[in-house]
Symmetry: C2
Subunit: 224 residues, 2 copies
DNA sequence: CATCTCCGACCTGTCTGATAGCTACATTTA
DNA sequence: TAAATGTAGCTATCAGACAGGTCGGAGATG
């Protein structure tokens, strides 16, 4: 049933090229004319393939410079989701985040290395320092980094890929300018408790600390 | 910093056209030459814009027919995930699926309407009939439809959007041609038990039935 | 010698005209 | 009536051309 277009084949071909050579962010790919000769296709066909890879976030084509491997793909998960009730939407997102991150917490408690725990501790320290300096941007960055570190420590690549993809859409929305202090002050102690529990490899305690953290977050959303 | 290319403007323009007129799946868009005249751009530029929208899953361009609004966006979550160990990858996917779908099961048990339960029952009946006819394609379709129905009955739009987006990548992979019978035969009874428990609004029973189902699936993967 | 300017090689962005192939539908034909 | 054919409209692809961005080196300038 699936129609096969040359331009899609081109996209696959170039994607394979990247995968096979294990190229990473910033690496440069052969030029358009090189690919035209190599794949024996016309210019427009090739560019359509490139455009598709670009839309998928695999590559970046820069005028005058060349074709480069992109650092990460960004998707638009909710771009076509018609959100009528913002508060309800936030609560639904929290539900999804809850189950994904709880899994990450459990896996991280089991599998995280000491270096990864140290990494998390550093993010928490940044968190505290930024809060003290009333630098909310950095507070949020540190908070994000802490949670991302948990996902990474889960050693589940699918989970990491998934959360990286939807992170911006899943986490950003509740950054209301109002009452930031409350949100952060309420959740910070739970962060500390969570990290300590994970470090002790105490799944029960880690899980319950995480639930307490999410309960606090949910509470602030429900108050909105 | 963000460079503005005409082809991206085109994509935005056509996207707006769809949003403004609230077009939905299957609706037909003006032809390429119409757009060329309307936006005053060349054909290749326009087609690059279309290719981007196509990659984002917004539209579908079919040779000889025209340009149509697509029913769902599909993004490629694992396109850049270098999978070295297929078996481990499958197990990781199962972990992610487990937590997402368990949440869906619980929510569906609480919130599903009778019509939605009837829908699930119909899919199960299709499942059984297809299995009897040894029509594995339809077996898989019915199975997919059953699980998707659970997500939809959860009434959590974020969950639905998420699972719709990654469904093809999260579920397709273990369709190994070999031993299909075993997989399906082992899991079918659990499907029935699961539906009955949800229908009774018995969260405990539904949850444990779902776990049994996933345990069976995990078992077959681990045997691979 | 150090610095600046300019030019040319190489790259991508866009346009245009032409051709082939696909699809749906009306028309003709057996 | 049903199959074959013609046709209009559409997308897929190609080839060539030109404009504009980027970068580094040759040469001018001090």
């Amino acid at each position: 049933m699936k129609r096969l277009y040359l331009s899609d084949t081109v996209a696959g071909e170039i994607g394979s090229y990247i995968a096979e050579r294990k190229l990473s962010a910033g690496d440069r790919l052969p030029s358009v004319s090189t690919w035209m000769a190599r794949l024996q296709v016309g210019r427009s066909t090739l560019r359509e393939g490139l455009k598709r890879l670009e839309a998928e976030g695999v590559i970046e084509v820069i005028n005058g410079k060349g074709i480069f491997v992109s650092d990460q793909q960004t998707f638009r998960l909710f771009s076509r989701l018609h959100v009528t009730d913002a508060r309800r939407h936030l609560l639904e997102m929290l539900d999804v985040r809850l189950v994904l991150e709880e899994k990450a917490v459990v896996l991280a408690t089991q599998h995280a290395s000491e270096a990864q725990f140290a990494d998390m501790a550093q993010h928490l320290e940044d968190y505290r320092a930024a809060r003290e300096a009333d630098d909310f941007l950095r507070v949020h960055e540190a908070d994000s980094a802490f949670h991302l570190a948990i996902y990474q420590a889960s050693h589940n690549e699918v989970l990491v890929a998934l959360i990286r993809s939807i992170h911006s859409e899943l986490y950003v929305s509740w950054q209301t300018p109002q009452d930031r202090n409350e949100v952060f002050d309420a959740s910070f102690p739970h962060h500390v408790t969570l990290l300590e529990a994970m470090r002790r490899r105490d799944i029960e305690a880690a899980s319950s600390a995480f639930h307490a953290l999410m309960a606090a977050t949910r509470h602030t959303v429900e108050m909105m």
